[in-house]
C-alpha cells in the first residue's frame, strides 16, 4: 500500500478545485483595479459590468422595474384610466407622469435597465464563447497529481498490466461518450461540452429575441376598425379608427387587401350563473388579397385571425349598429346609415350618437341608448337584460342647434357636443317605427339593426424572429440544465513491489448527480486480474 503524499497546494490543483465548482467558462470574481491609470480603471469597470454579480443585480432591477407597470394603468392598455388616475391624484399624478410611470415599458429608465443587462450579457457571453470554442478543440486536461482529492474517487489493486487497465478504461469511457485522451500512465476524459454550448446558445438567443422585439416595435403597425355587416374594409390608414406605427414603418405601404363583412353571428349562454356569457362569435367575410385578386370567402373567429400576407386581422369585439333614416323639416333625407353603438355592459346596453349637420332649418343631433333585450330598471333606467337582439329598442333624445362641426377641431363620432344645442324631445322606438320630431324638425325612422365587428389589424415583422429565438433559447436551456458535464481520470501505477494500483477520480458540476454511478460503472469495466497469457514488463511504467 502506498501512503498518500501530504496535501500540497500546487497551482494546478488550485485551478482544478476552483473549476470543480463550475466546470464552466463563467467569469471569475472581479479583483479591484490594479494601478490608477484610466485604462485599468476602464478595464476594471468593464469587468465589473460583465461580472456574474452585476448580472444578478441587473436581473433583480429588471424584475423590480417591471412591477409598477402592473400596479398603475398604462397608456398603451388603458389610456382613459391613465387620464382618470392623473386627474384624481393631482400633483402625485403629474409627478408619476413625469417619471414615465404610465408607460413604464417604453420609459427611459426601463430601457436603461434592460440595455445594460444586455450589454453585460454580450460582454459576458462573447469571451465565454471564445473560451468554450478553445475548450472544444483542446484535449481533456491532464490528470491532476492527486486523484484522491477529487470529489469522487476509487482505487484498487490489480494483477493486470497498466496497459490493460488503461486500454479498458479508454474503451469504457469511449462507450460512455467521453472524449478520451491517452497519456503516459493515465487516461483523461471529459464529456458534456453541450452543457456549456447550450448555456451560450441560450444567452445568445435572448439577444436575438431582443432584436426580434425591436424589429416589431420599429417596423410594426397596428390599428383598429369597426366594420358593420354588409360594408367593407380596405387596408389603408384612412380606413382605421385608430392606427399606430413604429418609427420606421411606412404607413403608405400596408398590405393592399380588402374584405367585406357579409354576416356576423354570436351565441350566448342562456340562463344559469353565467347567463349572457358569450359562447361563440363568427364573422363571415369575403376577402380580396389585392385589388386584382379573386375574392375568397373566409370565416373569422376569435383565436382564428384572418391572415393576408404579413398582416393579421383579429376579431376582438362586436356590437350593434341601429340603422336610421333622418328627414329634416323640409322632408329631405339628411342621414341614412347604420350607426355603431358602443356596448357599455356585458348585456350590451349600448350608447351612440347620430349627427345630421345638413338638416334644415337647424342641425340635429341624437343621443341614443340601444337595448338588444329591452327593460327599464327603476333606478338605472333603460337597461338590456340579454346580449342577443331578442327584444330590441332604441331610446333617443333629440338636440337641435349647432353641432360644432365647423370649428375645425376633431370631434368623436361617439360624442355629441351639446354646448350650443338645446334638448327638445325624448322617444323610445322599436324597429320599423318612426318618430315625428317636435317643432316641425322632421322625422327619424328606426329601420332595423345590423351587427358590427370590432377588428384589430396588426403587422409585426419581428414576430418570426422572436418565436424562433425562444424555441432555440428553450433548447439551449434544456441542454444547459440537464447535460451532465464530467471529467474522469484513470491512472495506473506500479509500486516498489510491482503491485499495480489503479486510481479513478471524477469531477462534475456540483449540481448534477450521477457521477458516482458513472465512476462505479467505469470501475466495473476495469480488469481485476491479468488477462490469461498476457505478460508485460512492468518496469516500463514506473
Amino acid at each position: 500500500m502506498t501512503v498518500n503524499p501530504p496535501l500540497s497546494e500546487t497551482p494546478e490543483d488550485e485551478d482544478l478545485l476552483l473549476e470543480s465548482t463550475t466546470l464552466s467558462t463563467q467569469p471569475a470574481a472581479v479583483q479591484p483595479p490594479s494601478g490608477l491609470g484610466l485604462r485599468s480603471l476602464l478595464r476594471w469597470a468593464w469587468r465589473q459590468l460583465t461580472s456574474m454579480r452585476t448580472a444578478l443585480l441587473l436581473l433583480f432591477l429588471l424584475a423590480l422595474a417591471a412591477v409598477p407597470g402592473s400596479l398603475l394603468p398604462q397608456q398603451g392598455n388603458a389610456p382613459a384610466d391613465v387620464a382618470d388616475w392623473i386627474s384624481r391624484h393631482g400633483a402625485l399624478g403629474r409627478l408619476f407622469e413625469r417619471l414615465s410611470l404610465f408607460h413604464v415599458y417604453s420609459s427611459p429608465w426601463f430601457a436603461a435597465v434592460y440595455l445594460l443587462l444586455f450589454v453585460s450579457l454580450i460582454g459576458c457571453v462573447v469571451p465565454r464563447t471564445r473560451l468554450h470554442w478553445r475548450a472544444l478543440r483542446s484535449r481533456p486536461p491532464a490528470a491532476p497529481r492527486h486523484l484522491s482529492r477529487l470529489p469522487v474517487t476509487r482505487s484498487f489493486t490489480t494483477t493486470a498490466t497498466p496497459q490493460e487497465v488503461l486500454d479498458a478504461a479508454h474503451r469504457s469511457l469511449r462507450r460512455r461518450r467521453f472524449r478520451v485522451d491517452r497519456l503516459a500512465g493515465s487516461v483523461g476524459a471529459e464529456k458534456g461540452y453541450l452543457r456549456e454550448t447550450g448555456n451560450l446558445v441560450f444567452h445568445l438567443a435572448l439577444v436575438v429575441l431582443l432584436v426580434g422585439v425591436a424589429i416589431g416595435a420599429l417596423y410594426g403597425t397596428r390599428g383598429s376598425a369597426i366594420v358593420v355587416e354588409g360594408s367593407g374594409f380596405a387596408n389603408t390608414v384612412t380606413r382605421y379608427d385608430s392606427f399606430s406605427a413604429g418609427p420606421l414603418a411606412d404607413p403608405q405601404r400596408l398590405d393592399p387587401f380588402s374584405f367585406t363583412l357579409d354576416k356576423f353571428s354570436a351565441t350566448y349562454q342562456q340562463g344559469g350563473k353565467q347567463n349572457g356569457a358569450p359562447r361563440s362569435f363568427t364573422a363571415d367575410v369575403t376577402v380580396q388579397d389585392s385589388p386584382t385578386a379573386t375574392p375568397r370567402s373566409q370565416v373569422l373567429q376569435v383565436n382564428e385571425p384572418l391572415v393576408v400576407g404579413g398582416t393579421k386581422v383579429f376579431l376582438v369585439g362586436h356590437g350593434y349598429a341601429p340603422v336610421v333614416t333622418v328627414r329634416d323639416g323640409e322632408g329631405r333625407v339628411v342621414f341614412s346609415d347604420a350607426v355603431p353603438f358602443l356596448p357599455r355592459d356585458a348585456m350590451f346596453t349600448s350608447t351612440g350618437v347620430i349627427k345630421a349637420p345638413d338638416a334644415r332649418p337647424t342641425q340635429l343631433g341624437f343621443q341614443g341608448i340601444f337595448l338588444p333585450t329591452a327593460s327599464i330598471d327603476p333606478i338605472r333606467g333603460p337597461l338590456s337584460t340579454f346580449p342577443a337582439a331578442n327584444d330590441p329598442a332604441l331610446f333617443l333624445s333629440l338636440w337641435k342647434g349647432d353641432l360644432g362641426l365647423d370649428t375645425g377641431a376633431a370631434q368623436s363620432v361617439y360624442r355629441l357636443d351639446v354646448s350650443r344645442m338645446t334638448r327638445v324631445g325624448l322617444e323610445a322606438m322599436r324597429p320599423g317605427e318612426s318618430w315625428t320630431l317636435p317643432d316641425g324638425l322632421g322625422t327619424i325612422t328606426f329601420d332595423g339593426i345590423r351587427q358590427y365587428a370590432a377588428l384589430s389589424i396588426a403587422q409585426d415583422p419581428g414576430k418570426g424572429i422572436a418565436l424562433g429565438s425562444v424555441v432555440v433559447a428553450i433548447a439551449g436551456l434544456l441542454l444547459s440544465l440537464f447535460v451532465p458535464r464530467r471529467r474522469v481520470w484513470v491512472r495506473a501505477t506500479a509500486d516498489d513491489e510491482g503491485t499495480i494500483l489503479v486510481e479513478i477520480g471524477g469531477l462534475a458540476r456540483t449540481e448534477a448527480g450521477g457521477l458516482e454511478a458513472e465512476v462505479d460503472a467505469l470501475r466495473s469495466d476495469l480488469p481485476d486480474e491479468a488477462a490469461p497469457g498476457a505478460r508485460e514488463p512492468i518496469e516500463e511504467y514506473r
Binding site: 463550475t22 464552466s24 463563467q26 470574481a29 456574474m52 454579480r53 448580472a55 444578478l56 436581473l59 433583480f60 429588471l62 424584475a63 417591471a66 412591477v67 407597470g69 402592473s70 398604462q74 398603451g76 392598455n77 413604464v104 415599458y105 422585439v213 397596428r222 349562454q269 344559469g272 350563473k273 353565467q274 356569457a277 358569450p278 359562447r279 361563440s280 362569435f281 373567429q301 376569435v302 383565436n303 382564428e304 385571425p305 393579421k312 383579429f314 376582438v316 356585458a346 384589430s456 389589424i457 396588426a458 409585426d460 414576430k463 422572436a466 418565436l467 425562444v470 424555441v471 433559447a473 428553450i474 436551456l477 434544456l478 440544465l481 440537464f482 449540481e511 448527480g513
Partner: protein, 333 residues
C-alpha cells in the same frame, strides 16, 4: 349520466378531498408536534438500551437503536416511532385526497365537455391536484420528503377553500377568447409549473430551517428527521431547474395564444408582467447559485421571492386587476 350529475359529483368529490386533506393535516401536524414525545416514551420504556450520546450542542441522550436519520441512506425513515406512524397516516390520507381530486377534475371536465382549466375555480382545482400529485411522486421517490406534508397540505387546502367559496362557477363552456388549444397547453404548463414551484418552495423553507439549525447546532424533532441541509438544497435546486424551462415554455405558449387572439404576443398586461417577473427572479436564482457569495441561503431567499411572485400572479392579479387575462369567471366589478 348527464353533464349535470357529473358537475355535482365533481363538487362532492372536492369537498371529500378537502375533508381527507384536513385529516391529513392533523396527522402531519401531530407528527411534528409529538415527534419528540413519541421518541421519549419509547426511550423510557427501554432504558436498558439507553446510552448517553452527545448530539450537537444539546447533548441529549438518544435511543441507540433509533438510528439518526442524517446517517441513513437517503429516504429511509425510522418507521417504528409513533410520530412516523402519524406521518404515514397523513401521507395515506394525502394519497386518497389526490385520487379524489383527480376524479373531481376528470368529472368537471366531463361536465363542461372540455379541458377542465377554463376559469379560476377549475385552475385552482387543477393546481391543487398537481401540487398533491407532485408531493406524492416526490415521497414515492424519496420517502424522507414526507416531512413536507404540512407545507404541502396547507397551501392546497387554502387554494381549495378559496376555490369553493370565492371562485366557484358552474361548469359550462368557455367564452370564445379561451377556445384555443394553445391556451390549453399554456394553462396546463402553468399549472404543472405551479405545482413544482410550490413543492420547491416547501423544500426551500425546510432547507432554510435546517440550515439555521445546523449553523446554531440546534436539534429538534424536525431537524433530526430531515436530511442534511445540503441535500435539501440540492433537491430544491433540482425542482427549480426542472421547472424553469417548463415555466419558460408556459410563457411562450401563452404568448403564442395572445398573438392569435389579440394580435400581439406581449402586451404587459398585469398577468404577463407578473409571469415575466417570476421568470426573471428565477433566472436570478439560477444565476445566484453560480455566483460567489450568493449560494445557499441567499439563493434560497431569491427562490422564495420568485415563488411569491408566482403566487401573487395566481391569486392577486386575477382578483385585483382587470386585464385581458381576468378570465376568472368572476362577476365584473
Amino acid at each position: 349520466m348527464t353533464a349535470h350529475t357529473f358537475a355535482h359529483l365533481s363538487n362532492d368529490l372536492v369537498y371529500s378531498a378537502m375533508a381527507t386533506l384536513t385529516l391529513a393535516l392533523l396527522a402531519f401536524s401531530a407528527e411534528l408536534a409529538f415527534g419528540d414525545r413519541g421518541r421519549v416514551a419509547r426511550t423510557s420504556r427501554r432504558t436498558v438500551h439507553r446510552v448517553p450520546v452527545a448530539v450537537g450542542a444539546g447533548g441529549a441522550p438518544v435511543d441507540v437503536d433509533t438510528p439518526d436519520v442524517a446517517e441513513l441512506p437517503e429516504g429511509d425513515l425510522p418507521e417504528s416511532t409513533r410520530a412516523a406512524k402519524l406521518g404515514g397516516i397523513g401521507f395515506s390520507l394525502t394519497v386518497l385526497s389526490f385520487v379524489l381530486l383527480l376524479a373531481a377534475v376528470v368529472f368537471r371536465g366531463l361536465a363542461a365537455g372540455r379541458a377542465p382549466w377554463g376559469n379560476m375555480y377549475e385552475f385552482s382545482l387543477a393546481s391543487a391536484l398537481v401540487v398533491t400529485g407532485a408531493y406524492v411522486i416526490a415521497v414515492w421517490r424519496r420517502p424522507v420528503l414526507r416531512l413536507l406534508g404540512v407545507f404541502i397540505v396547507v397551501p392546497v387546502l387554502l387554494t381549495l377553500g378559496l376555490a369553493v367559496t370565492v371562485l366557484y362557477v358552474d361548469a359550462g363552456p368557455l367564452v370564445p377568447a379561451l377556445k384555443s388549444y394553445w391556451l390549453v397547453i399554456h394553462v396546463a404548463a402553468a399549472i404543472i409549473s405551479g405545482g413544482i414551484f410550490t413543492l420547491g418552495g416547501a423544500v426551500t423553507v425546510l432547507y432554510l430551517l435546517q440550515e439555521r439549525w445546523e449553523r446554531r447546532g440546534l436539534s429538534n424533532s424536525l431537524s433530526r428527521r430531515l436530511p442534511e441541509s445540503e441535500q435539501l438544497d440540492r433537491t430544491a435546486y433540482r425542482l427549480f431547474a426542472f421547472v424553469f424551462p417548463l415555466w419558460t415554455f408556459a410563457i411562450v405558449a401563452g404568448a403564442i395564444w395572445a398573438e392569435n387572439a389579440w394580435g400581439r404576443y406581449w402586451g404587459w398586461d398585469p398577468k404577463e408582467t407578473w409571469a415575466f417577473v417570476t421568470w426573471v427572479v428565477f433566472a436570478g436564482y439560477l444565476h445566484a447559485r453560480a455566483t460567489a457569495g450568493w449560494k445557499g441561503r441567499r439563493a434560497a431567499m431569491i427562490a422564495l421571492l420568485g415563488l411569491s411572485a408566482f403566487i401573487f400572479n395566481y391569486f392577486g392579479v386575477n382578483i385585483f386587476f382587470t386585464g385581458l387575462h381576468s378570465y376568472g369567471g368572476l362577476p365584473n366589478k
